[in-house]
Amino acid sequence: MSYVDTTAIAINPRARRRRLLRKRFLRRPLAVVGLVVAAAFITAAILAPVVAPYSASATDFNATLAPPFTHGHLLGTDELGRDQLSRIIWGSRASIQAGVFSTLLAIAVAVPIGIIAGYYRGWIDPVIARLTDVLLAFPFLVLAVGLAAILGPSLTNATLALGIGAVPGLIRIARGEALALREEDFVRAAVANGARDASILARHVLPNMLSTLIVQATVTIPAAIIGEAVLSFLGLGVQPPTPSWGVMLSDAQSYVSQAPRLAIFPGIAIFLCSLSFNLLGDGLRDVLDPRTTR
């Protein structure tokens, strides 16, 4: 036992911290479940051609609106006899794509702006604050609807709109972090050592806000996943016949009395997918930020 402890001390501090974080994370069952389910959705999206029992557009007119577990369709079929399970699996591509890429886009745009505002302050800070306010003034869906009108409805443009919608919030978070970090001793020491701004920002400020950013990204993804579903539902995102959970819900509206399950399964998929990322995000927050321990 003492032997294990000495190696733990002997290995470098970063590896030790990683090991500690992993241990703390694994002690949170909900967070682990979130990670597993989120990973499953991502895998299903990538491997859709392999995992899905049917193609998303394959119609079976002998089995239209088939109930679950009949005609070899696990979740039944829609009005064109298309396999529901397969469409949900193929539809995960749009959701994951929109969720992940819009978040990455938002971080790529917002973090440098936020860091500049928080680290340099001066005249640039209020200017960025006002510009952020301008973006915030547009309710997200109104912004997305407007962008869809300008750019035309498509998954790419919906992703773009979702990304832009997430930018102002992320700018504020990055600014707040940079504002706090610039007062830290190690940043002051670097300044005193004559380090260039670029290297201070890249080596001291950015790495230290990483855990906040990771947590924020994990909770932005589910919001974007729901956002994609809403936009596709409204006809402003993925265009049929390409499968998407939002498109499936929109189609299902015509069959609420005959086949309400058509409106239930895609919704459960959206719910589970975004819940898994939210659970993961909550767990990561607890693990990475000891201030919020409950």
């Binding site: 604050a129 547009f138 309710p139 109104v142 407007g146 729901i226 409204l234 299902a252 309400p260 409106a263």
Partner: protein
Amino acid sequence: MGGFLLRKVGAALIVLVLASMLVFAGVRAIPGDPALALGAENRDPAVLQAIRHKYGLDKPLPVQYLNWISLAVRGDLGTDERELSVSNTIVQRLPITLELAGLAILIGSLIGIGAGVLAAWRRGKAADYAATTVALVGLSVPHFWLGILMIIYFAVRLHWLPAGGYVPFSTSPVQNLEHMLMPAIVLGTGLSAVLMRQMRSSMLGALGADYVRTARAKGLSELSVIGKHALRNSLITVTTVVGLQLGALISGAVITEQIFVIPGFGRLTIDAVNQRDYALLQGVVLVAAAGYVVVNLLVDVVYSLLNPRIRVSGAAT
């Protein structure tokens, strides 16, 4: 206080001007010549030129913007494709959405604040975990899907409530509320999840504060400690959250009105896009942005009245 107010109003004005420029530029960025759309089948250059002249489209963009905005601040947002006044249409539709939003805020606050207080008070106990888990579920559920489920069960299956539509309050208050109940619940539960989390954390902060310990030491009952001291101070923070949630509320209204076929402001936005009615879209987006800025300015002012510390410490930002 005067300086603080002035700074806040000034910032809000700058934001409003920039937002209106963005709306204007955005609508101009939509591909296609508006004169062609207005001229319908007529492609005669002379006619198109006359249309451009009539609507001021032949003037430089800054002049067009100034013309538009100077009319807009006087309440004239121009006419839409059907030659109807955009301002009138918005004024007709807005009260419907305001009623929906008001009911949603009421439902959301009751559930959110109640659950948040309970969770903070019973911290670490079963009630806390239950409330926290329900809030997380509430954040993950797509609310428009919740709306569809409610239509399936309460309207299609049980026939308890109408599946959609709108009856003015003046026509029949009972029917009005019947039509508004499900949409308000859908919109309100979304708000309540956010409020619950905020309320829980600010209550926890308040319960750990010195004044609560003093109140307890004085021998006050738990009810009065929670209700009079901790709750009142936490509510101040939560008021700001409601203001910030206004954007989410408007977004929520857009999709909720779409599902429940309510002819409100949100549905107007979607209609404007689907009908490619850009004058209408421009007006709707401008009003939404202005509403958000004004409400948040009011929230800021109220907040500073309730909490004098912010006037000093918040001055820098």
